[in-house]
Amino acid sequence: MLPELGQFALILALLLAGVQAFFGIAGPMLGRDRWIAVVSPAVAGQAVMVATAVGCLIASFVGNDFSVSYVAGNSNSALPLFYRVTALWGAHEGSLLLWILLLAGWTVAVAVGSARLPPRFAARVLGVLGVVSFGFLLFTLATSNPFLRLDPAMPDGRDLNPILQDPALAIHPPILYTGYVGFAVAFAFACAAMLEGRLDQTWARWTRPWTTAAWSFLTCGIALGSFWAYYELGWGGFWFWDPVENASFMPWLVGTALVHSLAVTEKRGLFKSWTLLLAILAFSLSMLGTFLVRSGVLVSVHSFAADPARGIFILAFLVIMIGGALTLYAWRAPLLKSSAGFDLGARESFLLFNNVLLITAATTVFAGTMAPLISDALGLGTVSVGPPYFNPTFLLSMLPLTALLSVGIHANWKRGRLKDSQRLLLITLVAAALIACGLVFGIYEHGHVLTPVGALLGVWILLSSFVEPIQRWLQGVRVPRGMLGMTIAHSGLGILVIALTTVQSFTREHDVALAPGGSTTLGSYQFRFDGVAPIEGPNYDGVGANVTVTRAGAPVAVLTPQKRQYWVQHQLTTETSIRMNHGNNILVALGEDLGAGRWSVRIQIRPLVSFIWLAALIMAIGGAVAASDRRYRTSRVTEAAVPGVTVGNSA
């Protein structure tokens, strides 16, 4: 009964999304205010219906209803309750449902938050969001219905993919999707502005908090995914340039560019059409990510659902949404003129460089991800693009970006007099160089060419980001949330650069065959292998090893890596064991059983690797702080913006 109720709720949600889309777009176009009044109730009703559908599916999972095909395919009666709930997004159909739920959530938030916006503009925004929601609901109902029944019901389910039975991955998709879907809001704001044919600084002010919030979620989501890959996939890497990772990274790069370009549009009324294009791009890449992951066009370790028929539907949807938006852009963007200009050394130029470099980075990632497809389409055979391509090309745009950030952060809006801050610039640079030298040659004894460069750039960003708020604080001026958030996010980036540099330069890795009682040394640590013993979990069994780690004779930790065999899917997973010690991440993974009690064991020592995810978290917190700035919530009457007037010095 519940699955049928869920399906019925989804159909109602589709109809309400249609109502929301039609009246939201047609109402303002024809100037009918009574049509506009329908939009908000439709938004609320759609959210309730989608929530009902999700609730029904969760209930089917919790209740082990294996007559539902999706539940039978992704759950099992032995699966712990927590994973029975998170199995909802363990495969394609449920992931889509999650996407729709989050979109409904964002739409409700926009509807509530748009009380201060002109009603016609708000209706257009909600209308565009309705179109997006309609498309995804139609896709779900037509090609990926999660409520399909099996007759006869399966006696038990096929279980959730074992590599997804992990706390980090269980919460990774909702957070990542919240970010993806959040860019739909920026997209809707852009489309609404183009439909209206008007875009001013107030528009940028409305759009900024939504975009920044979405960016924060995406940052968190990517970091969680990387963290999961680090300890669950068992290879000890944190980023693989896998198509699915790239699919989430490209919207992030473009979203980062958008966040910065919006700052210029808000403060100075510049970059208008560019900002619009970025808003369209960010969401297009989010949808493209869905397409790439779900259609089976790109095969990767992460894609657990592939079906060409779905690919065609998504492609048609992409053509309508992105094609529509880009047509609107080609038609309306030429109307947007910026009156103000700026000097070469002004903050605007640095943000322009920021945008160019971020888009270059996104393009190189895009080219690398799509290369196998393009080569296949042109009949050039299958090519595979990996880290040897991605690492250097990405670095090529990231090095100048990080260097320019430290300089640009000291620049003023409009006027390019770097002289004013020359002394500060020099002080931070020298201080950064000293600290970087201390780090590279003091704590760590070796490295390669990029080690001092990376350390210098990272420390420089870290120091520079604090200059402006400290200056303000010394002058007794209040530091607005927007600036505080920017400082936090930039310092997070500084930490990230430092962490990436140390990890890439100082990681030690050792694959060794060990018999029980055997030991090996890596860095300043000794590892003793105490042999393996059988283990048993709720839905798996396997073997667990004990590895005792000591440093100069003093015990550090006992690591317990495991090899698990999940019963239902007969899949082997490698559970690494990781311990922090003096800023080093010590990772031990069990390899193969070599017979006679001997096992191959992989040992890695990665200094500061945890700081990568910590830094991402700091960046996300910075975004959240900036998005909560009171400036964005004050009424529009008092904030009527005059083009070309410098409002403040923060971005």
């Binding site: 294009l277 852009y329 497809l373 296949d376 389409a377 007969h570």
Partner: protein, 179 residues
Amino acid sequence: MTRFALPMAVFVALVAVLAIGIKHSPQKGVILSPLIGKPAPPFQLPSLADPAHAVSSQNLKGRWYVLNVWGTWCVECRAEHQMLIEARDAHAVPLIGLDWKDDDDRAREWLAQLGNPYEVVVLDHSGNTAVDYGVYGAPETFLINDQGIIVYKYVGPLTREVWTKEILARLPVHAAARL
């Protein structure tokens, strides 16, 4: 104006690439076995009917046969079973079952309950033979010709479409004609 239409042009090109990608993707969904065109790995395994009696892959040579990897623990195998029974009744090609990492009693019970489509079932308790065949997950089906060469491999439950279009179509005419 043209400057603003540029993104659209790039997008159109991208759509073309993606469309071709989708057109090509069905073949990518099939996991091609590197063993195709190679001799089927030999085995000598106990038979389910009489575990004391070993069946060697040598005994199977000289005719076309289908090797089906299954197990009672495998839920999709149950879904596939009806198809196997139909295939048996069509008498086009003999079916050999490879019972993978399974309990003998449960396997006998399963065949008694659902019908036995196999001419002979061999027991791979250790799973080593399945490893030799590069088995990715049950059920998997191999078509082996009279020279003992693997001609085709299918991963997942057999459907009627796969059976007619992929397996029957590959059989020599005289075998298929008996349908």
